[in-house]
């Protein structure tokens, strides 16, 4: 009977192909939207997000306007609950929301090697540690800009040599370019000498992040500039707040895609069943049970929807993996990297939508008035 369903789908090749491609395109968009949501979710909920603090200049939002004295770092290091402080100089080509954002993080090189969740996939730490203008770049940005070890990369008035490309389990890391702190401070002119954009504070296992954060702000209140300290997740969410709203809205787009697939597959299945309603009457005359008739139609719609949906999901996942796309603003980026769960969700959604889309026509086929349908020549 499975053969019968397959042959039925092949009977109207054009219609089947159009429906398949429609379902594929819609599930492509669904997957795309889903991976953006996932990227955002990861930024604000990763283990990093809660156990790590970012110290920023009070009331400043763009990295280019936050200037903290570098010697805040040793002061913070002394506080209870603080394991480590990492001074970071941030430079970005675009403070506003952009799809091709380039973000440089200048950090003391040994701290990058020892503390960032990155591992080189080519190039060497050696080259990075010894050369003043050396940079290691995330895999995504390497893919996007076509860069490899040994290349010179110039953007604006910054010019670095690529000493290596790194991968990371934290997708948004792969959109960053790391240089040494000093390089980034001095290449930006004298005014940034001795200052950093932000300080990343790693906590001891038993520290309460919010308590330490307010302790930091209180301690530095009397310093040259006041600070705002937040958990890293909250910091990134507020930095990206415009995008967060937009992305939050985009999940409706995901639902719309599911609705689209549903109506598309339902239309095709209804048409297919109505064309062949007499065939279902014949099948039942031969002794096919109504319930089995129903299953035949459901199989048809589910097959159509699942094949199309899985195709779209897989193509989207591969494209997003390879493309290394990311959206960012003000030095924070969201990586569009689909997780394996997203592929599973895409498949499950396609399958479920296929069943729902086939329900009405399946019932129609199962309850066809046999004699009436046979009379219609």
């Amino acid at each position: 009977m499975f053969g019968y369903v397959l042959k039925t789908l092949l009977r109207h090749r054009a219609r089947t192909l159009l429906t398949l491609s429609g379902a594929a395109v819609a599930m492509f968009v669904f997957c795309f939207v889903g991976s953006v949501q996932e990227g955002l979710e990861r930024l604000t909920s990763g283990s990093d997000a809660d156990r790590c603090l970012i110290v920023f200049q009070e009331n400043r939002f763009c990295p280019s306007s936050s200037r903290l004295p570098e010697d805040y770092a040793p002061a913070i290091k002394k506080l209870a609950g603080v394991k480590q402080v990492m001074p970071i100089q941030v430079w970005t080509n675009n403070c506003r929301a952009s799809l091709d954002i380039v973000v440089f993080n200048g950090i003391p090189p040994e701290q990058i090697r020892d503390n960032r969740p990155v591992h080189l996939i080519n190039g060497s730490w050696e080259a990075f540690l010894t050369r003043r203008d050396a940079a290691i770049i995330g895999r995504n940005i390497a893919n996007r800009r076509g860069l490899k070890s040994g290349d010179q990369f110039t953007i604006g008035d910054l010019s670095v040599q690529v000493a290596g490309v790194f991968a990371s389990d934290v997708p948004s890391e792969e959109n960053l370019i790391y240089t040494s702190l000093q390089f980034l401070q001095y290449s930006r002119g004298k005014e940034t000498a001795g200052t950093v954009t932000q300080l990343e504070v790693h906590l001891t296992a038993d520290a309460d992040p919010d308590a330490v954060a307010s302790l930091i702000d209180q301690t530095l209140r009397n310093g040259p500039v006041a600070t705002t300290t937040r958990r890293k997740g909250a910091f990134q969410a507020s930095t990206l707040s415009d995008l967060v709203d937009l992305i939050g809205f985009a999940h409706w787009l995901g639902y719309a895609c599911v609705g689209l697939v549903l109506s598309l597959v339902a239309t095709t299945t209804v048409m297919s069943v109505q064309d062949r309603i007499k065939e279902y009457a014949v099948l039942q005359t031969l002794g096919v049970r109504p319930f089995r008739t129903m299953r035949l139609v459901l199989l048809e719609s589910t097959l159509l929807c699942t094949v199309g949906g899985v195709l779209g999901t897989v193509v989207a996942s591969v494209a997003l993996w390879m493309g290394g796309f990311a959206i960012g603003a003000e030095g924070a980026t969201i990586a569009f990297r689909p997780s394996p769960e997203l592929i599973l969700v895409g498949t499950a959604v396609s399958c479920t939508v296929g069943i729902i889309a086939g329900l009405a026509p399946a019932i129609q086929a199962a309850t066809v008035p046999i004699v009436m349908a046979l009379r219609n020549e």
């Binding site: 009977m1 053969g3 019968y4 042959k7 039925t8 092949l10 009977r11 007499k278 065939e279 014949v282 099948l283 039942q284 005359t285 031969l286 002794g287 096919v288 049970r289 109504p290 319930f291 046999i370 004699v371 046979l374 020549e377």
Partner: protein
């Protein structure tokens, strides 16, 4: 006991205000091995009677017993099972499934029975041989002539060894010589395989091959 037994069967249809009652208190017995032809003016309810025997329609009142089963009280699903095991239906137009080959079309009813793959293949081959189309097994309906399509339809109706075969104007849309082939075939099914056949026809000559001829007029059987 008769193989097919209709007792006081009534069937009427509503068409707007009007009620048509083609079968009004019909009683009929068909015995095992009978070849019954049913004639009568258009619109007297021949097809209606046939569909009642086939269990694809239900009477308003009365009882129908086929091969020992009272089918009037069965559910739609039970009727389907019953048809799969006991009934062969030959349509006026063959009603083959266009995407399936002759072989697959004939195989369909056997898929509904508990048979092994070998038994199934044997049955299908036997049925195709009986209608003389073994060499056309791989052909699709559109590659067959009208007469051949009808023969595949007959093979499909007999492949499950049904107790009763019903045929609604099986030669109605065929030319004379093709019609004669089909008549021969039906006669052989009855004589050689002992199948019980109930056939509706408009053609006096076709009716001639039956062992028992009935004429239905205004809901009553006329003696012939």
């Amino acid at each position: 006991m008769a193989l097919v037994e209709l007792k006081n069967v009534c069937r009427s249809f509503r068409k707007g205000e009007e009620t048509i009652t083609p079968l009004d208190d019909v009683t009929l017995e068909i015995h095992e091995g009978d070849f019954v032809s049913l004639m009568g003016p258009s619109g007297t309810g021949k097809s209606t009677l046939l569909n009642l025997v086939a269990g694809i329609d239900r009477p308003d009142s009365g009882s129908i017993t086929v091969a020992g089963t009272e089918i009037t009280n069965l559910s739609r699903g039970q009727l389907a099972d019953w048809r799969a095991a006991n009934l062969g239906y030959i349509f006026q137009t063959h009603n083959l499934i266009p995407v399936l080959t002759a072989y697959e079309n004939v195989e369909l009813p056997t898929l509904l029975l508990k048979l092994t793959a070998t038994q199934r293949r044997q049955r299908v081959e036997l049925a195709l041989r009986a209608v003389g189309l073994s060499d056309r097994a791989d052909h699709y309906p559109r590659q067959l002539s009208g007469g051949q399509e009808q023969r595949v339809g007959i093979a499909r109706a007999i492949v499950a060894n049904p107790r009763v075969v019903v045929a609604d104007e099986p030669t109605g849309s065929l030319d004379t010589s093709t019609s004669e082939q089909i008549q021969d075939l039906l006669q052989r099914l009855n004589r050689e395989l002992g199948m019980t056949v109930l056939m509706v026809t408009h053609d006096r000559d076709v009716a001639g091959i039956a062992t028992r001829r009935l004429t239905l007029n205004r809901g009553k059987f006329l003696p012939s």
